[in-house]
Structure formats: C-alpha cells, structure tokens
C-alpha cells in the first residue's frame, strides 16, 4: 500500500503540493487528472524520491515503510518504478544493457522488446534520438523488466500515434494486472482479488481509460487534490466543463 498523508512539497522554495492525502491499496490503479502545471509530475517525482522536491510536511509510507526521505534507489528496490514523460538520454548505454539493469539480468531482453515491437532499438543508446512514441515504448519496456509493485506513469500516451496506442494501453493494463486473463485454474473474480500491483497514471487525453479499468480518479488542481471519484465520470466532467469546474469546489 502507498499512503501519503498531509504532504507539502516545495521546489526551489516554491510550494507545489499542498495537503496531499492519497491512498493506493494493493491491486488498485488510480488516474491523476489536472491542468498543466497543477503539480501532477511533481507528485510522481516526489513519490519516486527526486531530492529537488523537498518534503516540508507530511509523510509517505510504502509497504509500511516510511520513505518520506529515502533516496531514489532505496525506493526502487522497495518496489516503486516510474515511466517518465521526458527521460534523459544516456549516451553509450544500450537499451539492452538498460533492460538488464532494470531486471537485474533476470529478463530476456529480446523477448520483452519483441512484445513491445521494439526489437530494433535494443542496440541503440537509451533514448538517444527516440521520438515521443518511441520513448514511451522504451519506458514501458524498462518498467516491464523492472516489474515494480507500484508503477507511476507520467502521461504514457503523449506523442504516441494511433497505431501504437492500443499496444501501449494493453501493455499498461498487463503491467498493472488489469488485462483480462483467462486462466483455467482460477475464476476471474479470484484473479481480480489476487491482484497486488498498484498504479498511478497521469493522463490528459483519457485514452488510457479505454484500456485500463482504473479504480479511482483524482484531480490535482493548483497543488491540491481537489476531487476523487469514478475516473470515467471525472473525465467526462472535465471534457464538458474543463478544470474551471474545480474552482467551484475549492474557493
């Protein structure tokens, strides 16, 4: 379980997140909505442990461990992973090597890359000259290899063409154990109940909702978690009234 209590975060002296309370139970996937600059990426970076995001108040607990001030690698080892929107290029490090790093050499990089239609990129330097859509596939590939318990997705659909959207959506659903699996030995209900993977997905377009049956939607507005509810309902609401609607609740 991820539990965020009363969290206040600053970046270079500026308050970005205020009074955040968020709880993601094992097996749950949450969707994070919000206008540009509302603090969505900052929340993900704070959960991942980027030190420039200074926690001024509150607490982050993961699997019962207080990780509020833990370094990034400790969180990664504890089971938190992230799919970045704009990851840096690592010159000279091949994607194949990166997959080995993520999986601690326990994954078949080629098989995995094939599943994401990304085989031809294994010998390329990580993210070097990748297009928007290629970055997303590369990120998913790395996350798949890392296989963390809590997966943070920062706009996994941005820059992805229509052709690859289904691939991305289905892969995320699989990663989060949200894809329908027919397993003869277990009932589908049992499969759902056995789900442990947690997800937090930032989306602007809402496309991801077509593939991932999310459990809860949250709206982040000016650093405050303004609204929570059924993700599709929230998305519809935003589509009709825009984020202006949030003002009604927060002022």
């Amino acid at each position: 379980m991820l539990l965020i209590e009363d969290l206040q975060v600053e970046l270079e002296g500026k308050v970005l997140l205020k009074d955040i309370h968020l709880e993601i139970l094992p097996g749950e996937t949450h969707i994070l909505f919000g206008p540009n600059g509302s603090g969505k990426t900052s929340l993900l970076m704070t959960i991942m442990g980027y030190p420039q995001y200074a926690v001024k108040r509150g607490k982050i607990t993961f699997k019962g461990v207080d990780i509020t001030h833990a370094p990034i690698d400790e969180r990664a080892r504890l089971g938190i992973g992230m799919s970045y929107q704009r990851p840096p290029t690592i010159n000279g490090l091949k994607l194949r090597q990166m997959i080995d790093i993520c999986a601690k050499k326990h994954a078949d990089a080629e098989e995995m890359a094939k599943s994401l239609n990304f085989f031809d990129f294994l010998e390329r330097d990580v993210n070097a000259g990748f297009s928007g859509g290629e970055i997303k596939r590369s990120e998913l590939l790395q996350l798949k290899a890392q296989n963390p318990d809590l997966m943070l997705f920062d706009e996994p659909e941005s820059g992805v063409d229509i052709e690859n959207m289904a691939l991305i959506g289905k892969t995320i659903a699989q990663l989060l154990q949200k894809a329908p699996v027919k397993d003869g030995s277990k009932s589908m209900l049992q499969t759902r109940q056995d789900r442990t993977r947690m997800g937090l997905v930032i989306t602007h377009t809402g496309y991801i909702l077509d593939y991932v049956p999310a459990d809860k939607g949250q709206v982040l507005y000016e650093g405050i978690l303004a609204c929570a509810g059924n993700p599709r309902e929230i998305f519809q609401c935003i589509a009709i009234s825009g984020y202006e609607e949030c003002l009604k609740c927060n002022l």
């Binding site: 992973g81 490090l93 993520c102």
Partner: protein, 408 residues
C-alpha cells in the same frame, strides 16, 4: 632516400629543440645506455611471473599468443621476443632490418621529420630498437599482431622507432601495449611511428598505455594513406602517468582514403595530458573523423584536434567530449581549416560533469548512486569504433574494464 648520415646531422642540429606543446623534459636527467636482456623462447615468455603477465595482458599482450597473429616484445632497450605466425605478415626488429634489408630505408624517417624536436632527434641519435610490421600485398591479418614496449629499468629513456606498412590491398591489425614493471616509477618513452597504408589497404592500430606514475611519454607518429586506404588509430590511456604529449598526423594523399582517430583518456591527479590529432585531407573523396573522450579525476587534459580540407568533396568531423569527475582541468581546442570550396567539415565539443538527471534516472531503475555514475561514465567512454574486428573491440572493452575500478 635520405642517407643515414644526413639523418644524424639533422638530429644533432635539433638535439635541444623544444616541442611546441606539452611540458619540456630535460632528457639529460635520464639514462639511455643499453640494457641487455636474454632473448625469450616461446616457453620462457609464458613462464614470466604472473604479476608481469597480468600487466602485459592489460596492455593487450597475451604471452600465450592466443588469438594473435604475431608478437613483438621489447624490454627496455632490447628485443626479447619477435615472431610472426601468419603468412604474408612480417614482424621484425627494426635495427636488424636496417642492416638486412635495403627497402627499409624507403620508409625510415620518411614521414616524421627527424629534426621535429629534441625527442625525434634523440630517437635518431640513440635508437634502442623497435619493430617493423608489414603486411604483404593482398594479405589479410586474421588475428591482430601484438607488440609490447616494456620498461623495467628505473630512470631509463626508451627510444624506439616503429614502421608499420600495409601493402596494397592488405589488411593489418596491430595492438601495441606500452607498460612498465611494477617496481619501476620514473622514465621516459620516446616512440617514433611511421605508418604507410597503401592503395586499398586497411590498417587498424590500437595503442594501450599503462604507465608508471612518474613516466613521461613522447610519441611521434605520422601516417600516409593512399587511394582507397583506411587507417583506424585508437589510443587508450586510463592509468596514472606524469606527462604525455602527442600530436599524431595523418596525410590522406589518395582519393577516397579514410582516417579515423579515437582516443580515450582518463587522467588521474597529477597527470598532464596534451593529446591532439591532425588529419590532412588532400584528395577528393577523403574522409576523416577524430573522436576524443577525456575524463579528468584531477588531471590536466588538453585535447587538440585539427582537420585540414585541401580538396573538394571531402568530409571530416571532429568530436571532443570531456567529463570532469573529481576536479582537474580539461581544455579543448578543436580546429577546422578549409582551403577549397565544397568541403563538409564539422566539429562538436562539450565539457561537463555527470548530469544529476541521468544519475537519478538510473537510480530509479534500482542502481545505487555510485553504480549509476560508473554506468554513465562507462557509456561516455564506449565509443563505437568502426573498422575493428570484433575480437579487437572486445580487447578494448577489456582494457576499459580492467582499469574501471581504479579509474572511477
């Protein structure tokens, strides 16, 4: 052919001539007298103490000769082993060759000016030995030829002269290691190398330096590449050294000839590197590339590079990247000279430190901070060297691996 007396006369006149770059060395402080060593038979070379064998291996010399097409091994001033295992490839000591073969004189001091500076002069006046490696027309070296210049005697100035000749249509790969015995600290290595790459020949020359902390090194090398020829020149130095100054020059004199220089340097505290490379592109269709990677852990590193386009339809690129890990200074001077229209020349230079963003990215994939930094640094150093057989590429990776732990 210039008579040997002329060489001597010119050398004498330049005996005190300082080099334009790098620290000036007082050669009077070093010993150049001959050090006799027994010639080692194959079994004997394999029976060297393990410590020594390991040192040699780090410089690319495998005493077993496994995966090698031939071996040249010079200890101090004396050749202790020399043989070729491949038909069509000759490996000879230069002093013996000068006596035996007249054709050597067509190459000896033909490219490097004997009066360039006091180091070339010293090598001409007091030559110890060196190698001649020649691939006969059309022959292909399946395995690289290994050459090792080893210094064991404290305070020695080792003067060597090497000739590397790839005859028409041949393919030759040479890996040269320069190293010192573990007990040895102070000395000078002066190495003259002249490369002749004839029509449609290919030569890859990889030099790995593993020196002692108080060593000063002054290589002087010039190459000439004829029509359709390819010269790949790799240089790796990742161990502590006092001072290295070199500025190898290549003349692309034939149409469609190519030269590629790659250098990887890791400078430890107190080291002083002045490393350059100059390529003249003299005929249409010539290609040249200089790729430099330098890491400073508290060293002074000067990277120079100069591409000179003298004919249309040439293409040349210079890439010079430096990384400051633990202080020190990196200077980078890339230079392009275009003498005619229709040249395509570019350069790229960057000096910086390891980006935090990259470190965090790798940490979020489960690596510790230190592991992340090493991974980024390894990536920085892993240059895609073209034109190398896979075996030699593996050899270079091995050299980087071996010094990885100490270097960063």
């Amino acid at each position: 052919m210039q008579p040997l007396e002329d060489i001597e006369g010119k050398a004498k006149a330049a005996a005190d001539k300082k080099a334009p770059f790098g620290e000036d060395l007082d050669l009077g402080k070093y010993d150049r007298s001959f050090v006799p060593h027994k010639y080692l038979a194959e079994e004997e070379i394999c029976a060297l103490p393990e410590m020594e064998r390991r040192l040699l291996l780090m410089s690319g010399l495998d005493v077993t000769g496994r995966g090698r097409g031939g071996t040249f091994f010079q200890k101090d001033t004396t050749v202790v082993h020399c043989r070729s295992l491949q038909e069509g490839i000759e490996v000879l000591p230069i002093k013996e060759s000068l006596k035996k073969y007249d054709w050597i004189k067509d190459y000896f001091w033909k490219l490097v000016p004997v009066d360039q500076d006091k180091y070339t002069a010293s090598a001409a006046l007091e030559l110890h030995d060196g190698y001649v490696i020649r691939a006969l027309p059309g022959s292909k070296s399946i395995y690289p030829i290994q050459a090792c210049l080893y210094i064991d005697k404290e305070n020695l100035q080792q003067n060597v002269h090497n000739l590397i000749i790839a005859e028409e249509g041949s393919e030759l790969h040479v890996i040269t290691g320069c190293t010192t015995s573990p007990k040895m600290k102070r000395g000078v290595h002066v190495g003259i190398s002249e490369f002749f790459i004839k029509k449609n020949a290919k030569l890859s020359f990889t030099m790995i330096h593993n020196w002692a902390e108080e060593m000063a090194v002054r290589p002087r090398s010039v190459a000439m590449v004829e029509e359709g020829g390819l010269f790949v020149n790799n240089y790796i130095c990742m161990r502590p050294v006092r001072s290295i100054q070199m500025y190898p020059v290549t003349h692309l004199v034939g149409e469609d000839s190519t030269a590629m220089f790659y250098s990887i340097v890791v400078g430890t505290p107190g080291s002083n590197f002045d490393i350059g490379g100059r390529i003249f592109l003299k005929k249409p269709g010539c290609r040249a590339e200089i790729i430099q990677r330098a890491i400073s852990n508290g060293a002074y590193v000067m990277n120079r590079g100069h591409l000179i386009g003298e004919a249309p339809d040439i293409k040349a690129h210079l890439e010079c990247k430096g990384l400051l890990l633990k202080g020190g200074v990196i200077d980078s001077i890339p230079q392009l000279s275009a003498h005619v229209e229709g040249v395509d020349m570019s350069h790229e230079a960057a000096v910086g430190k390891v980006a935090r963003e990259e470190i965090y990215y790798l940490m979020s994939r489960g690596l510790s901070e230190q592991e992340s930094i090493s991974t980024i640094v390894r990536g920085f150093l892993s240059v895609d060297i073209k034109g190398l057989p896979p075996m030699l590429k593996a050899e270079i990776d091995k050299a980087i691996d071996a010094s990885d732990k100490d270097a960063f």
